[in-house]
Symmetry: C2
Subunit: 199 residues, 2 copies
DNA sequence: GGCCTAACCGGACTTTACCCCGGTTAAGCT
DNA sequence: AGCTTAACCGGGGTAAAGTCCGGTTAGGCC
């Protein structure tokens, strides 16, 4: 008898989870991440504050959950969408396509992404989705002597870091101009790292 | 008449600044970053809480100031130390050497670096020192068609990100084993990006 | 259907970052 | 030295995150 899932989530708990996420999205759309407080979220959802913390652990945890939810779409496209983002294209092309998609994703959700870092009890840093996908794709490229684990981490941060910094600095310069530059920069970086022969 | 420096820092203010940084270092050494509260720091320094906030703006600001101070040493070595970290070596060698130095720096100061991110009013994200140095050095390498600004940002985050994530996860696995792996990974990445011909 | 227990819920409580503003003092000029 | 003013200092006040524990309820088992 194996305990893969120690206990299924109770039905009311799951309902409250969805309710809280929905309220959070509402508040976020109305007045931005700054104004989303735990008390307000609890009141808006008609629940107690203890419940909010039980579900998400911390303020940052809420934003993390929101971001995870949004990321699932991207993940689906990567796993089973059309190439070159999905399976079927050469790995280097897929890596480049992933970067483009990721840049757009971050540009769209930068407010939430930023808020996941907030707070003293920040949601335990997890290895980002990007790193896992990159690791898989990099293995398919012929890279003799490379430490794939480390390289995947490096590229994942090379992708997210500068863009987020940019989005931190200027509130709303998420226009097409700078993001296009990041997309081109990513393509260039990947081709340098993988060599043009990898495709 | 130019106002390069709008006003020199008042003598008492400068004294208090040093006093506060010294107290902060003490508290940090005694009981770790978690226990450093603004009230405690003010009391320990014999100053008011308002003064602490005036100097540093926020809790994260204190850690930022501490980190800046430590970074100045590294900066000195880069600007005027012996090669290959300092001037006089081929640019690619200097970039590799910088990575090694940076990895060790982060491993040593990871607690403070992490705390820099804490708090809702995090110290306004600045472009890290790494990015500026890398930009200068990359310009000296022949990289046709590269967007140096973007590339410098990418490499700066490729250097800091994975290491910090690692240090976040495990409290004290800052041993030589993982850092050596990051150092090797950095060398490999730089050589791939710059081509072996760049040196 | 009734019981048992573990998980859940609420909301009062504590802690802590951050704000504010009246009183004080350093620095420069005459 | 005396004056002016801008900057500094103190510490009480506020808001919001995170904790705790007694009461409640869902879901499995007989």
């Amino acid at each position: 008898m194996t305990w893969g899932t120690p206990r299924p989530e109770r039905a009311d708990a799951a309902r409250n989870r969805e309710l809280l996420l929905a309220s959070a999205r509402e508040l976020l759309a109305e007045s931005g991440p700054e104004c989303l407080t735990m008390d307000l979220l609890a009141e808006r959802s008609g629940l107690g504050k203890g419940t909010v913390f039980r579900r998400f652990g911390s303020r940052a945890g809420i934003f993390q959950a929101l971001l995870d939810d949004a990321e699932r779409d991207l993940q689906q496209q990567v796993l089973s969408g059309p190439p070159p983002l999905g399976p079927g294209a050469p790995p280097v092309d897929r890596i480049v396509a992933y970067g483009t998609a990721r840049v757009r994703f971050l540009a769209e959700h930068h407010a939430v992404a930023r808020a996941t870092l907030d707070g003293r009890h920040a949601a335990g840093r997890r290895r980002p989705l990007s790193e896992i996908h990159l690791r898989v794709l990099l293995r398919e490229v012929d890279l003799p002597g490379a430490d794939i684990e480390v390289l995947a981490g490096q590229l994942a941060y090379a992708l997210d870091g500068p863009l987020l910094l940019q989005l931190f600095a200027g509130p709303e310069l998420a226009g097409p101009e700078p993001t296009a530059r990041f997309e081109a920069g990513w393509r260039d970086l990947v081709e340098r790292v993988c060599g043009v022969s990898g495709r």
